[in-house]
Symmetry: C2
Subunit: 334 residues, 2 copies
DNA sequence: CTGAAAGCGCTTACAG
DNA sequence: CTGAAAGCGCTTACAG
């Protein structure tokens, strides 16, 4: 029952053309007349011929694959990126890549060296790298840049460097939020920040500071958090002691969940006693009670744009950074 | 500034051996004496030679890649698999694959035909397929089987077929849960089921039915859910009308969150008025209040085993299905 | 123990 | 418009 492998040669033979003509017909080469192309296509189809992506890749010295580098840490339990972020982004990336006949390979990163990262491209396993969840102070990128490895950042950038990136502008959504609050007569606000490990957390804090001035909110200060539930619980206790504002912005959903938990224990009710608005828009914001009013970060769109950007880097075009707007989604917490 | 590509030939020249010897030295061929191998390795390293995975793959007619097929649907918003499931599983798969010098390519599936799925392997884009989130009644697999495409299921199986799979045994964890409840003197219980679209949901219901008899629980019946928040809210109302049991099992976290929301509106408190135990263990179970007591499904382990199983299929070994135990994690809801 | 040679399946200049 | 030929960079039998 040895099945014969359907090769290009077999198709050529049946169609009475040369193998190179088969290739040309199937890839839509302009020089081939429609009649010939159609004949070849029909025979190829009938025979079930499927071109080897390995042969093609090898000849062209391109893998037609994008490497998506995903950080992780092993502690007691496996630490991943916020999962929704990861999966929504990845869908966008995959779908957009697919349209361009690229596929996506995932690369786990528990602290690979710059050389190890470069290796993925130098060995032609992938054609370029997409980085998410990058922390400030990561020093691996100058080597990649020097080695001319195509790479981009998602939700990160390095001031003063020419590393291309796709980012979300927190300002548009925060502006909507502040206008919404103003129109409801709210005035006293606070922020539980995301600390300084991530560029995005820093930016959110900076934009918050700028806008509360611009919109003349009464500034009750900032509490430093770190994107964890625990820091939210802690913030709740501190805020309860110091006196409640009317609105609390949280740098992410985990902080907000911790905050609301902390308030619950103190009999402080959201949104009746204090409103809460959250950055990002994870699935959890719709699962918890109350459902969280958020400044949405368009992860899926971001993935789509990421595919476009890394492909332009791979083609050695001059990359154009992409900045997507965030927007307000009103639910129950504010 | 034209950089010369470091080739195997250059290494061979510097080391005064043939190119084939370079390959052999670098891949640890047994016939090469340590002296020669070390010399070649040193020179290759110094030159920064990195073998092309494309050449290797092409020659061996193997991509050294596992395809992870991820279902999605476009509705108003993109529908993904439960995200934690997806990401934790993927980590396990990636890490385990990496140990065997395989990488993982993700394949989005919004209803690809069997031929389209097969195509990924036939074109050598990947060597085999891993399926998650498969619904009962999916008819695409007989064609894959017939075409001898290596593939496996995760958390799914087809009775009477020889399709290999990795699954979790819900019984071990449920048994622990029931013993735990008994030891606390609890007796009257219910289940909000996950419907019949997924094999796993069906299995959970069947095992539940079996064990409440075995442990002599007082059976207050089953409410059909569908893994959605809404079905949890609905169940809460129904249960409140019909009279509260002591314990409610939920087929997943979304149902449980809906249930607790529904109870909250009715002033029914968890765990004071009724205990809740949930299958799976998503991140959300630790974020919500109360933290949910769960029967853990080891997603990460499952990913690791999946890599082993699909690789054994690829190597044409006789695949051995893998069934992992679940276990009880006690938190605040029961 | 090591080299020369064949071949993996493609694509693309180069002829005609 | 189409064919014959070269070559992508590797591995592995086959000689020696």
């Amino acid at each position: 029952m040895a099945k014969i492998k359907i090769t290009r040669e077999l198709v050529a033979q049946k169609a009475k053309v040369a193998p190179s003509t088969v290739s040309r017909a199937l890839s839509g080469h302009p020089g081939i007349p429609k009649r010939t192309a159609d004949k070849v296509k029909k025979i190829a189809e009938a025979l079930g011929y499927i071109p080897s992506s390995l042969g093609r890749s090898h000849f062209q010295k391109k893998s037609f694959r994008i490497g998506c580098v995903i950080p992780y840490k092993f502690d007691q339990r496996i630490q991943t990126l916020p999962s929704d972020y990861f999966s929504k982004f990845l869908y966008g990336l995959m779908l957009s890549a697919m349209e361009k006949n690229y596929s996506v390979t995932v690369i786990p990163d528990s602290g690979l060296s710059a050389s190890e990262l470069a290796h993925n491209v130098q060995s032609n396993n992938v054609d370029g790298l997409v980085f998410l969840g990058i922390r400030r102070g990561d020093t691996r990128f100058s080597e990649l840049y020097r080695k001319k490895i195509p790479f981009i950042f998602i939700h990160h950038y390095e001031p003063g460097r020419n590393y291309p990136y796709v980012d979300t502008n927190a300002e548009t959504g925060l502006r909507e939020a502040m206008e919404y609050l103003k129109s409801n007569g709210l005035n006293k606000c606070m922020l539980v920040s995301g600390g300084n490990a991530f560029r995005n957390a820093l930016d959110r804090t900076a934009i918050y500071k700028k806008l509360i001035k611009e919109y003349s909110f009464s500034d009750l200060g900032i509490i430093d958090g770190d994107f964890s539930i625990k820091s939210g619980v802690f913030a709740a206790k501190k805020i309860a002691l110091e006196g409640l504002p009317e609105v609390i912005f949280c740098a992410n959903d985990r902080i907000a969940c911790g905050l609301i938990q902390g308030f619950q224990e103190l009999q402080i009710r959201v949104p009746m006693d204090v409103k809460v608005i959250v950055f990002d828009d994870m699935n959890v914001t719709r699962i918890v009670t109350p459902k969280l009013t958020t400044i949405e970060n368009p992860f899926f769109e971001c993935g789509k744009k990421a595919a476009e950007l890394i492909l332009s880097c791979i083609k050695k075009e001059k990359p154009q950074n992409i900045i997507l707007p965030s927007k307000l989604i009103i639910r129950d917490s504010a």
